[in-house]
């Protein structure tokens, strides 16, 4: 062979040639004196370099090794436990009809957990309606646990499991919350018709019912939730779950086990019994005389007229609010005009905020058992002159500071993010603006598809958390810019936060400051996540 070049000799010396090449060169240098000399000196050079580099070891003392329990690993354990529990629960529920347990084992049934929470809640909060609250607690605990599971699973996946098993896990993590938030009966009934949908008086629907049509009449029984959209909606039957009705004219006459949300040009509640709350919004909201609402009522409209009996508090806002009925708790009103007729009864306090004191008419027969406070709203005090405002801001800074310390402790990378140059700042801002606008839009779209609602809500909550973190990250960055020599992260962070709170509360520039901080902060977080994704190796 021809004499090998220096690169080949260097690789030969480093053991960096493949076996055949190595042999060829080895054979050649036995013959060729020039090449042998070159290889020998390269070997000597390598030896010298290696020895020199190996000499200097560690300087100073070895610091103690403290394996910190990381949030991710904690979350992973929590998450998988929750997923496992939930899986058992789902299997259990589907078997529950066919399988009966001996009494001594009944505590493992998933329904028993619900009962346990109910007992706990009614013990802790006497006087509360245990059923509603317990169900709500159970549902929200489940959602939170499963959301944590999904996030933890996803985080773990990003770190440790690229490839097929990872994809399967991801699918499971995303599917989990979707399935978990489906109604217990695992189905819903969808009815759609251009002109008219009628659920007859003898009909019983055991699922959640979703109806869209021009003219909707529900006279039967729905044991799940009811969601209706139409022009004219009349609900006369018995609905056990939540009711959401959106239409030009909404009439409610039945018996309602859950809360009722009515949105329409006119929302008219007549001869109805509501075991829970009423939320009404529209041009004209009317609650007739024979109505009983055991929970709270919130009504907002141009013209609000309330006649029935409201068990708890009433919040009302609108152009003109008239109270003819009774309120078991307190009443709060924000309106152009408020009238309490002779038949009005309020067991608690009356707080009104109106255009001017003349706009309130309280007839002599009306009874307010608690205190009455009427404020006219244009004369709202300057918020900058109240102590509460400053106290609130101090608390806000402290909360963000503590959150920031925890955040930076567990995700140190977020404490070190920076903008290298103007181009990068623009890229970051672009990504941030996209995250700021696209995420809530996508969440709303997902929520509208109903089946994607849990995912949408979860995304939205994560987005809110990210927005909060964005402020902290930017504050930390600003603080470091202002105090380049500062030791640690706490002082710069605190300085940055104070600055941010002051700036974002200034008139005129406050809004733009918040916008810019949100955009840049979200962009930085997004880029950090992207970096994490790229650096998935150990």
């Amino acid at each position: 062979m021809n004499c090998p070049n220096e690169l080949t000799c260097s690789r030969f010396v480093d053991n960096g040639l493949d076996a055949t090449e190595h042999q060829t060169v080895s054979a050649h240098i036995r013959e060729c004196r020039a090449c042998r000399t070159l290889v020998d000196s390269l070997t000597a050079e390598r030896k010298l370099l290696r020895e020199a580099m190996q000499t200097a070891g560690a300087d100073g003392v070895i610091p103690a090794f403290i394996p910190r329990p990381t949030i991710p690993s904690l979350l992973v354990w929590l998450g998988w436990t929750a997923v496992a529990l939930w899986g058992v629960g789902v299997v259990w529920l589907s078997l529950a009809d066919t399988l009966t347990l001996p009494a001594w084992l009944s505590w493992i049934s998933p329904t028993a957990i619900g009962t346990g929470i109910q007992v706990l809640v009614s013990t802790l909060l006497p006087g509360s309606t245990p059923m509603d609250l317990a169900d709500g607690l159970l549902a929200s605990t489940r959602s939170v646990v499963i959301a944590i599971a999904a996030i933890a699973g996803f985080g773990w996946l990003v770190r440790n499991q690229p490839g097929a098993s990872g994809t399967a896990l991801l699918a499971f993590c995303l599917l989990g919350p979707l399935l978990a938030a489906a109604p217990e009966s695992h189905a819903f009934d969808l009815r759609r018709d251009e002109q008219r949908v009628i659920v007859g008086p003898d009909e019983v629907i055991d699922d959640t019912l979703i109806v869209t049509s021009e003219d909707v009449l529900i006279e039967g029984t729905v044991t799940g939730d009811l969601i209706v959209a139409g022009e004219t909606i009349r609900i006369r039957g018995r609905i056990d779950g939540l009711v959401i009705a959106m239409g030009e004219s909404v009439q409610l006459e039945g018996t309602f086990g859950g809360s009722v949300l009515g949105l329409g040009e006119t929302v008219d509640v007549r001869t109805a019994t509501l075991a829970s709350n009423l939320f009404g919004a529209g041009e004209r909201i009317t609650v007739q005389q024979d109505v009983e609402i055991r929970g709270n009522a919130a009504a907002a409209g141009e013209e609000v007229s309330l006649h029935g009996a409201i068990g708890k508090d009433l919040i009302s806002a609108g152009g003109r609010v008239t109270l003819l009925g009774s309120v078991g708790g307190s009443m709060r009103g924000y309106a152009g005009k408020v009238e309490l007729t002779d038949s009005a009864r309020i067991a608690g306090n009356l707080t009104l905020r109106v255009e001017n004191a003349d706009a309130v008419v309280i007839d002599p027969g009306a009874v307010v058992s608690g205190s009455t406070e009427i404020e006219s709203w244009p004369e709202e005090r300057n918020r900058f002159l109240t102590i509460d405002f400053y106290l609130g801001k101090v608390l806000q800074v402290l909360a963000a500071f503590l959150t920031g310390l925890v955040l930076f402790r567990f995700v140190p990378a977020l404490a070190d993010v920076e903008l290298a140059g103007s181009t990068e700042a623009l890229v970051t801002a672009g990504i941030g603006a996209l995250a700021l606008i696209a995420t809530p839009v996508l969440s709303v779209v997902a929520i509208l598809t109903l089946i994607g609602a849990p995912l949408g809500i979860m995304t939205f909550l994560i987005w809110l958390a990210a927005l909060y973190a964005a402020g902290i990250v930017i504050s930390g960055y600003a603080g470091r810019l202002l105090l380049p020599g500062a030791e640690g992260r706490a002082i710069p962070l605190l300085l940055g936060l104070v600055l941010l709170v002051v700036l974002s509360n200034l008139p005129f520039i406050g809004g733009p400051v918040k916008l810019v901080v949100g955009i840049l902060g979200l962009g930085m977080i997004a880029q950090w996540l992207q970096g994490l994704w790229q650096a998935r190796r150990v």
Binding site: E6, D14, G16, A44, L49, A52, M53, F65, P67, Q534
Partner: protein
Amino acid sequence: MKKAAFDALYREHYGRVYGLCRRLLGQSADAEDATQEVFVRAYRSFGRYRREDPFGPWISTIAGNYCIDLLRGKQRRGDLFNEDAEVDPASDPLDNGAGPLIRSQDAETINRAVEALPEQFRLPVVLAYYSDASYDQIAETLGITRNHVGVLLLRAKKKLREQLTTQSAQGELR
């Protein structure tokens, strides 16, 4: 149990890992923090470490990957090795014969010269001559080809030669 076993390995290997991080990162980051982070990562995946394998190479791989990621993070937009990714050995200017080789110099001078190398040369040199990593391991850690590893190493040595020769010439003049 795990903590005790790991503690012993930590004390034994701290020095080498610290040295590796310091050499890989150069002036660009705090090697002590990086070493801690490397051990934290190792501790986390200690379950996957097979006890019959030597610990040194295993932790060195983690350290190498971590430091490279750190450096990559610092210059996200430009890849560390994007310039002349593939080199045609025939046309390469480094192939006009071996210049004066590095001769007996004290270790400190050599280490200073290594530290002063540009990142793309320093990394393979440290991995090859400090960590004793093979061409395959270096190629995997840096995300380049085996061939490229050889080219970078030879170029690095040429730079070291130049630098050390100039230094010793200046030394003699004085």
